[in-house]
């Protein structure tokens, strides 16, 4: 009965401690999430803002070139970094002077006529200043078009040479048309040549998913700081009675960790539920609250509580132990890829990060929240056992030493 009373008392204390930091914590979470959202928007906007405007001067009454312009403007390869804008020569020159256009393409009146008759034809690129990155890419694409034309013309020319000496059933015009259509067909299906596989530094997860789980874990660690208040020097009457023997100390330690776990997990589940509601309202489809998440969050909370208990024990419950806790946790979070993905680390650091608990917590939370897999929790369980064993053993030794 005394144990139960003590448990209730510790749970109450844990809630008291955690509620004190709750408002600050919610503000931090809100700020971090809005930062994540703003960075996402800023990334997209920067890419859009860095897209160059290219003024294109088309000859009048040339429907063929107009069609070609529309085709080029819809090319996926140009989207995101280049906007083709049809305008007059005067507009283009004025636009180049006031930096509205990064470069201009002026197509002469006889360009199309000469091109279809395989005569040399050139358009002019007006370059106001040194080439920027996106302008270089556009020029390279023009070189690519030249290369395709060389390949096509070489095939047709090689057929001409043999047609002088050999008789074929097809005419020259027919052969030209056939070859042109073969190469145009190849050009149109060029994207099918590539078997594309995307590689991301965030693994199989998106930027938002990766950092959302990081933020949840960092929040758990930040919230645990408030539990330092549960390790005061003035022992409670009930705690004193219970800790008269070694088994008593073990029991009180377990109760301390359990009460912290209950406080942390209820708060996290509440937060996840509210995030799911926001997700549903905004139709973002990022988080789905499944029953498995409850088990996962309880296990991860237990792990974080055990970790906090271990650090407090190692710091001998001193006044500045919270500072050491913050610094050690920050180093652990960074080394385990909570801030920068682990692919950027040297291999030795990468190996070291696997030995730290944050890696397992992060992997488990990612697979739990976004794949609904419980497999990642096995390593969390192992870590729980190790942390609990170390935390309890050291705490018992410390208390017995103090006595």
């Amino acid at each position: 009965m005394r144990i139960f009373h003590y448990l209730c008392f510790e749970i109450k204390t844990a809630y008291k401690c955690i509620l004190g930091t709750f408002i600050g914590f919610i503000t931090i979470i809100g700020l971090l999430l809005s930062l994540l959202y703003a960075i996402n928007i800023a990334k997209a906007s920067t890419e859009e803002a860095l897209a160059i405007n290219v003024g294109v001067v088309l000859p009048e009454d040339q429907s063929e070139l107009g069609g070609l312009f529309r085709f080029a403007n819809n090319l996926t390869s140009l989207k995101g970094y280049c906007n083709l804008i049809s305008c007059s020569e005067e507009e283009v020159k004025a636009g180049l002077l006031n930096n509205e256009y990064s470069l201009a393409v002026i197509i002469p009146d006889d360009f199309f006529e000469k091109s279809i008759h395989m005569q040399p034809a050139e358009f002019t690129i007006l370059l106001p200043h040194e080439l920027s990155h996106n302008e270089k890419k556009l020029i390279s694409m023009f070189h690519g078009v030249e290369h395709v034309m060389v390949v096509c013309e070489s095939a047709i020319q090689s057929m001409y040479y043999s047609m002088y000496t050999n008789s074929f059933s097809f005419t020259r015009q027919q052969m030209e048309n056939d070859f042109t259509s073969i190469y145009v067909k190849q050009f149109l299906s060029r994207n099918n040549i590539f078997d594309v596989d995307y590689l991301s530094s965030y693994g199989n997860y998106s930027f938002i998913e990766y950092y959302l789980s990081s933020i949840i874990l960092i929040s758990l660690i930040i919230c645990s700081i408030s539990f330092f208040g549960m390790y005061g020097n003035n022992e409670l009457y009930l705690e004193k009675i219970l800790s008269v023997s070694t088994s008593g100390i073990i029991r009180t330690t377990i109760i301390k960790i359990l009460s912290q776990t209950i406080a942390l997990s209820t708060m996290m589940l509440g937060l996840l539920l509210s995030l799911t509601v926001i997700d549903k309202i905004m139709a973002l489809n990022i988080i789905f609250f499944e029953p498995n998440i409850i088990i996962g969050i309880i296990l991860i909370s237990l792990s974080v509580s055990s970790y906090t208990h271990l650090i407090i024990t190692l710091c001998k419950c001193s006044a500045d132990s919270s500072i050491y806790y913050i610094l050690l946790s920050m180093i652990m979070v960074i080394l385990c890829g909570g801030v920068v993905p682990k692919v950027y680390f040297p291999k030795a650091l990468n190996t070291l990060s696997f030995a730290l608990p944050f890696s397992s917590w992060h992997n488990a939370l990612l697979s739990l929240l976004f794949e609904n897999h419980l497999s990642g929790l096995i390593s969390v369980l192992i870590i729980n056992v190790i942390l609990l064993f170390l935390g309890i053993t050291l705490y018992v030794r410390q208390v017995r030493h103090n006595v």
């Binding site: 408002i23 600050g24 503000t27 931090i28 700020l31 971090l32 930062l35 960075i39 800023a42 803002a49 090319l75 390869s77 995101g80 970094y81 034809a121 050139e122 358009f123 002019t124 690129i125 007006l126 200043h129 080439l131 920027s132 990155h133 270089k136 890419k137 020029i139 390279s140 023009f142 690519g144 395709v148 060389v150 390949v151 013309e153 070489s154 095939a155 090689s158 040479y161 050999n166 074929f168 059933s169 097809f170 056939d178 073969i182 190849q186 060029r190 994207n191 099918n192 040549i193 590539f194 078997d195 594309v196 995307y198 590689l199 530094s201 500045d320 180093i331 960074i334 801030v339 920068v340």
Partner: protein, 334 residues
């Protein structure tokens, strides 16, 4: 009211250097800056495209000619290991990696090119499509003889092998010698607009961390000294924390400056001083340490949010510019 006590300053420096807290803090800053320098920050350098031959007999010529090409904006490099290629692409150091394997040989022989090239694209880049446009002509050139053979086998099935060989060798010769130019460039020589295209991420992160250090130092030193003096039952003026925090932040700034940004050491020291004054001001306004601990992370995140550290959000939300002047990092970021 407040006197500078030399022996106290020497004691502070000694305390700083011999404290675990100080070295943990420095270790944290060094790790972060080191990691940030490892991240490829987008710049105006040429886009890196990696090429790898995974057992294809016809790909060597293509890879060589691609690596030799002088297309502006792209840097084609041959990679010797597939793992390395994937690692570079995953990190975003290379925009894409192109792998030619045995399937590619078969595709070139038959003319059926669908999915014949393994193309690893970095998820963080939008350049993937543009690169395909540059790579495609090389593949087309490689397959052109097969296309000619396929065409002739349908239209002139009785053509002799000698004539066929003559046509394909002529095609190869013409491909290597023909030069078509469809455009010429006229440079107008105007002054280029000044655009801040990329931020110096490692420098800015170092500034941000030093700001955090100043904030934490003012808190933590206050706490440590409060505990220390309370043992002697002696009241401590909170300005004593300023002296200690200033020394700690200045030493941190000096170490970071010397390790990573040697040319800007003095600037870093000035920045450390400003940050400590700022942190003390915030501590003074917060009144209690408890309130101050809530303010520290909020201020750090707000600073990351409104100062041009990772992204310059003021370009997208111009009104943020005025709020950004409230934090010291804005005046020093690059």
């Amino acid at each position: 009211m407040f006197r500078i006590n030399l022996s106290f300053i020497i004691l502070q420096i000694k305390n700083c250097i011999f404290s675990l807290y100080f070295w943990l803090k420095i270790l944290l800053v060094i790790i972060v800056i080191f990691l940030v320098t490892q991240i490829g920050v987008s710049s105006d350098d040429d886009t890196l495209v990696l090429l790898y031959n995974d057992g294809s007999s016809v790909a060597d010529d293509i890879i060589d000619s691609m690596a030799r090409t002088d297309y502006v904006g792209y840097d084609f490099k041959i990679c010797k290991k597939l793992d390395k290629l994937k690692e570079y692409v995953q990190k975003g150091d290379a925009v894409c990696g192109i792998v030619f394997d045995e399937d590619f040989d078969l595709a070139i022989r038959t003319g059926k090119l669908k999915n014949c090239i393994k193309y690893y694209q970095s998820a963080s880049s939008i350049d993937g499509f543009a690169i395909k446009e540059v790579v495609f002509p090389f593949i087309l050139e490689a397959v052109s003889n097969t296309l000619i053979r396929n065409y002739l086998s349908e239209t002139a099935p009785d053509i002799s092998p000698e004539v066929l060989d003559l046509i394909t060798s002529t095609n190869d010769l013409l491909n290597s010698q023909t030069n078509i130019s469809i455009f010429h460039i006229e440079e107008l020589g105007l002054r280029s607009p000044i655009i801040k295209s990329s931020l110096n991420l490692s420098y800015n992160i170092a500034l941000w961390l030093l700001f955090g250090i100043a904030l934490i130092d003012v808190y933590s030193l206050g706490e440590i000294y409060k505990a220390h003096f309370s043992g002697r039952k002696k009241a401590v003026h909170y300005l004593y924390t300023f002296e200690g925090a200033l020394i700690s932040t200045l030493i941190s700034s000096l170490i970071v400056g010397l390790l990573f940004f040697t040319g800007d050491v003095l600037l870093f020291l000035l920045y450390g001083l400003i940050c400590t004054i700022y942190a003390c001001l915030v501590r003074f306004i917060s009144k209690s340490n408890k309130r101050y601990t809530t303010v520290i992370p909020i201020l750090m995140i707000v600073c990351l949010f409104i100062s041009p550290i990772i992204y310059d959000l003021t370009i997208i939300i111009p009104s943020l510019k005025y709020i950004s002047f409230l934090v010291p990092t804005t005046y020093f970021t690059m």
